[in-house]
Symmetry: C2
Subunit: 433 residues, 2 copies
């Protein structure tokens, strides 16, 4: 993944491999608040405070309560721990709970960035399949039964129930209730990673696992990265007090405390809630348009026998190609066409995912999404034709909605329709509004 990201830094590459938010619309008023916080009032005192409390500043805890309340979730201050981004939240969960050889359950596919944390602490990761309603609870029960018979107690289940990374699916309300019931009956800790929940583009919000459980068996992980600014590297853990206390000690050893500078920025930005809410609405509008472009681009560029998920929110969708193809090999070929994606194997610990890929639609403008998907489609066609030649099979078919390659699909936010060549690559302001 790291080497991949380095390659995708090249300006000529359209990267659908990232998980980047687009921050081009960050409101100037908010930046002014930040600058003011750095120079007057209590901000400088706090920003320059050498080390804040390990658990984070009180004003940041208040901002977290606001964000979690938007998801209908209550949290006590004594349950909160500010972390250096969502990544550290996962790392601290593992550092605190995992002994070498411990079984950890996760969705298959799961967040590729969680895998190095699991393996760094030598967890034995078992990944359970999802369908369009999220994690399959029947498989979970089966696995728990098998583990129980073998005398193995899993340390926790790691799940991203809403707009899952990388699959783009959302766990249904019924399954959420089932999962929380299982957690309580079997005393199974559930780690609910929730970086994207406020980025919903359609459908009704669903309750968090944490709110259904009341905070007994669910450890909730959040982050400001996707709803304010990722560069701040501020996330959080909401955990039962005894667990939070252990994690607090783990964090002390990891980096003492998260940067005061970033915490003062969050304090400044959350002083004006309507401004933050309107920024969030703006971000959602932009991402929704890009998701729609990606869905229609895929429909036009991909051969029959290809499928993908249709996320109601978040940043990603998951594309499954014909079984003959291997997306790790395909990536090497795609990079020569200056387009990148995350090969599916990166989302598994056990070699699965070979003919799937994750594509991101939040960090790239509509033109580049369209062009990037077109390039991937061309590589897929080319490889399938090659495979067909070798195997003596029929060439791949274009879909019924086929158009000449290079034509733009009809999209909602298309003021620049036809302006493809005039727009420099990798600009991220396709919605001037």
């Amino acid at each position: 993944m790291r080497d991949l990201m380095a390659i995708t830094e090249r300006p000529e590459v359209i990267s659908l491999a990232g998980g980047l938010p687009d921050v081009s619309g960050f409101p100037p008023q908010m930046l002014e608040r930040v600058a003011k916080a750095m120079t007057d009032g209590a901000g400088p005192r706090r920003a320059r405070r050498p080390y804040g409390p390990t658990e984070g500043m009180a004003k940041v805890h208040e901002a977290i309560q606001v964000v979690m309340a938007e998801e209908g979730t209550q949290v006590d201050l004594g349950e909160l721990l500010v972390t250096t981004g969502g990544q550290q939240a996962i790392d601290l969960v593992c550092k605190t709970l995992v002994d070498p050889g411990d079984v950890v359950l996760a969705e298959g596919p799961t967040y590729p960035g969680a895998i190095p944390s699991f393996t760094a602490y030598q967890a034995d990761v078992r990944q359970l399949e999802m369908d369009e309603h999220g994690l399959r609870i029947d498989l979970l029960e089966e696995t728990l039964d098998q583990l129980d018979e073998a005398g193995i107690r899993p340390k926790f289940l790691y799940t991203i129930p809403t707009f899952q990374n990388p699959a783009g699916v959302t766990m249904s309300l019924e399954r959420r209730k089932q999962l929380v019931k299982i957690a309580q009956e079997r005393e199974l800790l559930v780690v609910e990673d929730s970086p994207y929940s406020l980025l919903r583009y359609e459908g009704d919000p669903l309750p968090t696992l944490r709110s259904l459980d009341g905070g007994n068996y669910v450890i909730y992980l959040g982050t400001f990265s996707k709803i304010l600014a990722a560069g701040l590297r501020i996330g959080w853990i909401a955990a039962p007090r005894a667990i939070r206390q252990k994690m607090n000690i783990g964090k002390q050893g990891a980096d003492l405390c998260s940067p005061s500078t970033s915490q003062v920025v969050i304090e400044a930005c959350f002083q004006d809630l309507p401004l933050w809410r309107s920024y969030l609405e703006d971000v959602k509008g932009r991402y929704q348009g890009r998701r729609d472009v990606m869905l229609s681009s895929l429909a036009h560029a991909m051969p029959e026998g290809t499928s993908w998920t249709r996320p109601e929110g978040g940043l990603f969708l998951w594309v499954t190609l014909p079984e003959a193809l291997d997306t790790t090999d395909l990536l090497a070929r795609a990079l020569r066409s200056n387009v990148a994606f995350v090969p599916g194997r990166a989302a598994y610990t056990d070699g699965r995912g070979g003919h799937s890929m994750r594509v991101n639609f939040s960090g790239v403008n509509a033109d580049d999404i369209h062009e990037g998907v077109r390039r991937i489609g061309d590589v897929v066609f080319e490889q399938l034709e090659l495979y067909g030649d070798v195997m003596g099979e029929a060439p791949p078919k274009r879909r019924a909605t086929d158009r000449p390659t290079g034509a733009k699909p009809p999209v909602d936010d298309a003021p620049e329709q036809g302006a493809l060549v005039e727009f420099p690559r990798r600009r991220s302001a396709e919605r001037p509004a």
Copy 2:
């Protein structure tokens, strides 16, 4: 340590337990630069860049080169990794190099904050004594021989050669050369932690181990915490490329990258090198005055049979009490007198340090240093008298330089002589210049 720090947050407690820099003199021009960087020019783009490179921004690497050059140490860009504070640097060293049961060598006493990192990764820590010239190289050789005979290869030696935390001693030039020679002959990795080296108040600077070794067997850890602002949480590792690459992957799993916000602040502050240098001179002047107050306060407040180190720089000194006393017990009593220190056992993994303590002079003003040391002295006398009664021994003696308790010692920076009661507690601007 964490619980201790929480108690010392109480405003009535004079805490000599911290390791805090005093940032009250942070120049307004530098704050203005920071605010400007947040709102105009390339700063906002970089600050808002969702994720920077894991190894850190190029401008921060340049600032690190400047800082290391001040210590006479060259470093290539490909050897640098920006970390989330000096603490994460230690954590990444352990995460990357230590497997459970591995032997790690360290000074005894060592930095109390390193111990949780060592133990989190289940290192077998062996601590070697120091004298006034730093780590005893004869003991190191003896230990290496014993380990060699037992077929054990230590993963690394962790050392703070300059103004050691907590002992306040500095490794002599001769020992530095011996250590580097041993490292090369025996292929022993040395982790040189160097947070305080630029805070020298007297004597000539000594070359870093890294500069003597040329970067083959020495991993150098640095931080901006003590020379700019600890709240930024930015430190670094300079390591041989292959090791740096492994640590880079470890950091990816730990927190993806350090905050862009903090990195942009560092870029802004290092644009004006003379301003940074004059800030550093100001800090050094203030700390030197406080060190002198602490030395003279100890001479007046402590009984015979007590000794302490005389640091040429840094933030700490190490006090050794008569063996009859236990500083962990003494701390409980001292907290009732509203004064705190770090009991010596916190600096060992093996129970040593029972009659020693670490005291900090950088984060507390001169009046509070004087008053805090007086209170500690009173508790020490009281406990020794109690012990003498029980054991039928003579009462403890005051030193020849004894003065009535509560009187101020003669100090160099004493414009407030006699003004004790007029100055509010815990102010930190005893040097108006």
